[in-house]
């Protein structure tokens, strides 16, 4: 099966140099990367974490491996119930059904945040 994906240039270059360095095809690199990601998602969904374990103590402490998706999966895996009144629940439902357009102050704040993360 053939897959197409859009990734940042730096990531594409990393795939290429890894393939050259390890004597693999780009497909093999992507295949193994996806395989590890699938295992990671399964582990995190099962309440585990991905850790790189040092072969000996001189290499320093074990290292937690995290990506934005794994981190999101981890904190969303537990859910605490929140009981509200019927009126409050109805307000929530209306806000979801017809989300208000953001106001000028919120839009300005989002723009400041975006500018700061560049």
């Amino acid at each position: 099966m053939r897959l197409e994906a859009t990734v940042p240039d730096s990531r594409a270059q990393a795939v290429e140099s890894l393939a050259n360095e390890l004597g693999l095809s780009k497909s093999q690199v992507v295949d193994e990367a996806v395989s590890i990601f699938i295992q990671a998602v399964t582990a995190v969904r099962g309440g585990r974490r991905l850790v790189a374990v040092a072969a000996d103590a001189a290499q320093g402490p074990d290292c937690l491996i995290m990506t934005p998706t794994l981190s999101a999966l981890e904190w969303t895996s537990r859910s605490e119930p929140l009981q509200v009144s019927v009126e409050a629940l109805e307000r929530v439902r209306k806000l979801i059904a017809e989300p208000p357009a953001p106001g000028a102050r919120a839009r300005a704040a989002a723009a400041r945040f975006k500018a700061g993360s560049r």
Binding site: L73, E74, W75, E80, P81, L82, L95, A106, F113
Partner: protein
């Protein structure tokens, strides 16, 4: 491309740094529970560490927030207007705590605002993978309620403190689209 977050998961070094926001409950939570809750998966705590270019004299941790998932429901739905309401709890993200170190006041860094939008970025990303219809916050006093209202949160329950406030994912996404 979504904006990048500026925070990181809390570490033992962050906790040892001596965070203080002026609210003893929030300070105590950070010192005693943030790390252990994070490790046990009860709720994530994200910290914004002092950037290298920040003015001298600022603390190592400028502020923090906690993020977890919640399911909004009502115990009274069964006896009320069931047909008008969802028959299942509504999944949402919960910002349980958000605090800026008091030494950052007047720094111009807008720590509270930055932490809130950092949390929004995480929630938008998470909503791609899991059901999440919005963000809930607990405003502990009038000043906190005014802060969240500034960023379009709506108070959904005015009968008790802390106030439950909510913003729909649709509104959050449009903030970033428009920016």
């Amino acid at each position: 491309m979504p904006p990048e977050t500026r925070t990181a998961r809390v570490t033992a070094e962050d906790v040892a740094g001596g965070f203080r926001c002026g609210d003893s409950a929030l300070d105590d939570f950070f010192a005693r529970h943030a790390r252990s809750n994070d490790e046990r998966g009860i709720g994530r705590t994200y910290v914004w560490r002092r950037p290298a270019a920040a003015p001298a004299g600022l603390p190592d941790v400028l502020g923090y927030y906690t993020l977890s998932m919640t399911a909004i429901g009502s115990a009274f739905v069964a006896v009320a207007t069931l047909e008008k309401l969802p028959k299942y709890p509504i999944p949402a993200a919960l910002i349980g705590r958000l605090a800026a170190d008091e030494r950052t006041r007047g720094s111009g860094l807008r720590v509270g605002e930055t932490l809130l939008f950092d949390a929004f970025v995480r929630v938008v990303a998470a909503a791609e993978n899991v059901g999440c219809f919005g963000v809930v916050v607990d405003a502990k006093n009038e000043s906190a309620e005014a802060f969240y209202r500034k960023y379009d949160f709506t108070t959904v329950d005015e009968t008790q403190w802390p106030r439950k406030m909510f913003i729909a994912m649709g509104t959050v996404r449009r903030m970033f689209d428009a920016a």
